[in-house]
């Protein structure tokens, strides 16, 4: 019963709330009054766009001079993010869903890779939580959103691991819990920190464009 709710109405409601929320937040940002930029740009429009686009990728890795001070945090964060992407886009069931929704599909990664990736992802998530609770800067910055968003990402990973191992409670219940936890994530995504899944590209792009306009390093 729980599973058919999760796969049916639950999925539809969560998806709609996510779409409404994301467009609401993006529109609320982008439709604010914009002051035209009249300062003479140092680069032509094309170069500025390229600057914006490039920054979306270059900001993924911090500049070398920052490495000594940010390596642990960044490393942990990427073990999590890369691990999550491997699971998401390499796991057979996920590719299946993507295929059913978007019609595109690609070969999946061997199960062993997914198991290792999910183990690392889970470990990284826990380490990141410990770091957020112990690092003085993060203690000061962290809000309820950070911890709620952490939990809402942790649950799908944890239930996913239990599900792939078909450990406790049988496939049906575990699959229902996994899908419900993903739906909770979809519902929360637009209203909290997870919105950075969209804002990170917009943020880096706008900064890259503006800095390229000034010919400044991005």
């Amino acid at each position: 019963m729980l599973l058919s709710f999760a796969r049916g109405p639950g999925m539809q409601v969560a998806a709609l709330i996510m779409v409404v929320g994301m467009f609401w937040r993006l529109a609320g940002i982008l439709l604010l009054r914009r002051r035209a930029a009249h300062a003479a740009a140092r680069n032509p429009f094309g170069a500025r766009l390229l600057g914006g686009a490039v920054t979306v990728f270059t900001r993924t890795i911090p500049r070398r001079t920052f490495w000594p001070r940010v390596a642990p945090g960044v490393a942990l964060s990427y073990v999590f993010h890369v691990g999550l992407f491997i699971i998401l886009f390499g796991g057979a069931p996920h590719i299946l869903i993507i295929h059913e929704i978007f019609g595109v599909s690609w070969p999946d990664l061997p199960k062993g890779v997914i198991v290792v990736a999910s183990g690392l992802t889970l470990a990284a998530l826990i380490a990141l939580l410990v770091r957020r609770l112990t690092h003085p800067v993060l203690q000061l910055l962290s809000t309820a959103d950070d911890f709620l968003s952490w939990l809402i990402v942790f649950l799908p990973v944890a239930t996913g691991i239990l599900l792939s191992g078909e450990t406790v409670g049988g496939y049906g219940t575990l699959l229902a819990l996994h899908i419900l936890s993903v739906e909770a994530l979809m519902i929360w995504l637009p209203f909290g920190k997870l919105m950075h899944v969209a804002l990170v590209f917009a943020g880096r792009g706008v900064l890259g464009y503006n800095f390229a306009r000034k010919g400044a390093a991005t």
């Binding site: 058919s4 999925m11 609401w24 057979a92 069931p93 061997p110 496939y171």
Partner: protein
């Protein structure tokens, strides 16, 4: 005849105690009981009176009865009809009409409190249950009349257990399972559309041998047969583990006998013994013959999300049109917020 023991009856028919012991050994294995119980079961069976069974058919298609009878060779399971006395079964008995009615009354009176009440078919309760009558009487009233005198009730088939196909949306007749009508009797659900014959004989032998129903799970199904899912027992599971899936019903993967998960197989969420006991006397079971499991032994299997051919991993999203509307709503809300914000900026 009435007080003759099963043992005497079998002896009369030239069936040796050794044969009975062999039958008991087979049943203990099938019921996943410890082998040491076989002699005990054989002795109990020998000493038992033939168990009276009253079979009432309600809103059913007779598929459940067919599957129990349609064994091309008289296997051990067939012997079950020697241990029970099927005192009333509308399709099988010669009598009909008021004569049948009389037989039913007599059987119920003679075995008050001791007979097993076997039901197949769902019980329509809408509009006072008028959608299924036997001799002018609604099924629900008959069930309520004969349930109290039963030692236990066997809900045979997904219809009797959970309402089955008649209960599928929109369920015009208000079909329900036995457990929705009778709340105070030990009930064992033997779902399946139809159920596996060996499961019924296992349950009957257990009841006749030990005088009580076998261990049941939270949906009142015998754990011996419904404790694991088809997926757990499926011979194609190694392909599932290696991520080898058939993409269409006759592609290379399907011909290699790869897992049918992506073609909507509901094995992982369906509890039944098809993968081990198999069907038609062990010939095969749906997955072995190349089609995904439909999940027929699970409640509301007919109304499953996304239908039989949507994989368990998938689901039905809101659809692109609704997504578009949602996006527009989002933009409208965002615009409203932005306009409100602009008004605040001096």
């Amino acid at each position: 005849m009435r007080d003759e023991t099963v043992g005497d009856m079998l002896g009369r028919r030239g069936f040796s105690r050794r044969g009975l012991l062999k039958f008991a050994i087979a049943m203990t294995s099938s019921l996943a009981l410890p082998p040491s119980l076989a002699p005990v079961m054989a002795a109990n069976l020998a000493a038992a009176r033939r168990q009276s069974v009253i079979w009432l058919s309600f809103q059913e298609c007779t598929g459940c009865l067919e599957t129990l009878l349609r064994t091309d060779s008289p296997t051990i399971a067939g012997l079950i009809f020697d241990f029970i006395s099927l005192d009333y079964q509308e399709s099988l008995m010669a009598a009909a009409g008021s004569a049948a009615e009389l037989t039913l009354r007599q059987a119920v009176a003679a075995n008050a409190g001791k007979y097993l009440l076997a039901i197949d078919g769902s019980i329509p309760v809408a509009d006072g249950g008028v959608y299924s009558l036997t001799g002018g009487r609604t099924n629900v009233s008959m069930l309520q009349e004969f349930a109290p005198g039963a030692a236990a009730i066997l809900a045979i088939g997904t219809c009797a257990a959970y309402g089955g196909i008649p209960k599928a949306f929109p369920n015009p007749t208000g079909a329900v399972g036995v457990e929705d009508v009778i709340l105070d009797k030990p009930i064992v659900n033997i779902p399946g559309c139809p159920p596996i014959p060996e499961v019924l004989s296992g349950v009957l032998v257990y009841f006749v041998s030990f005088g009580r129903l076998p261990d049941l799970d939270d949906q009142k199904r015998p754990l011996a047969y419904f404790g694991t899912t088809i997926h757990d027992q499926c011979y194609r599971k190694p392909f599932y583990d290696q991520g080898k899936f058939a993409k269409s019903f006759d592609d290379e993967g399907a011909r290699q006998g790869w897992c049918l998960f992506e073609l909507g197989c509901k094995g992982p969420t369906t509890h039944n013994a098809c993968a081990s006991l198999k069907w038609n006397d062990g010939t095969s079971f749906p997955i072995e013959s190349g089609h995904g499991c439909l999940g027929c032994s699970e409640p509301d299997f007919w109304d499953q999300e996304g239908g039989f051919y949507t994989s368990l991993a998938g689901g039905t999203g809101p659809g692109w049109r609704n997504a578009g509307i949602a996006a527009a709503t989002g933009v409208a809300l965002g615009a409203a917020a932005a306009i409100a914000a602009r008004r605040k900026v001096p």
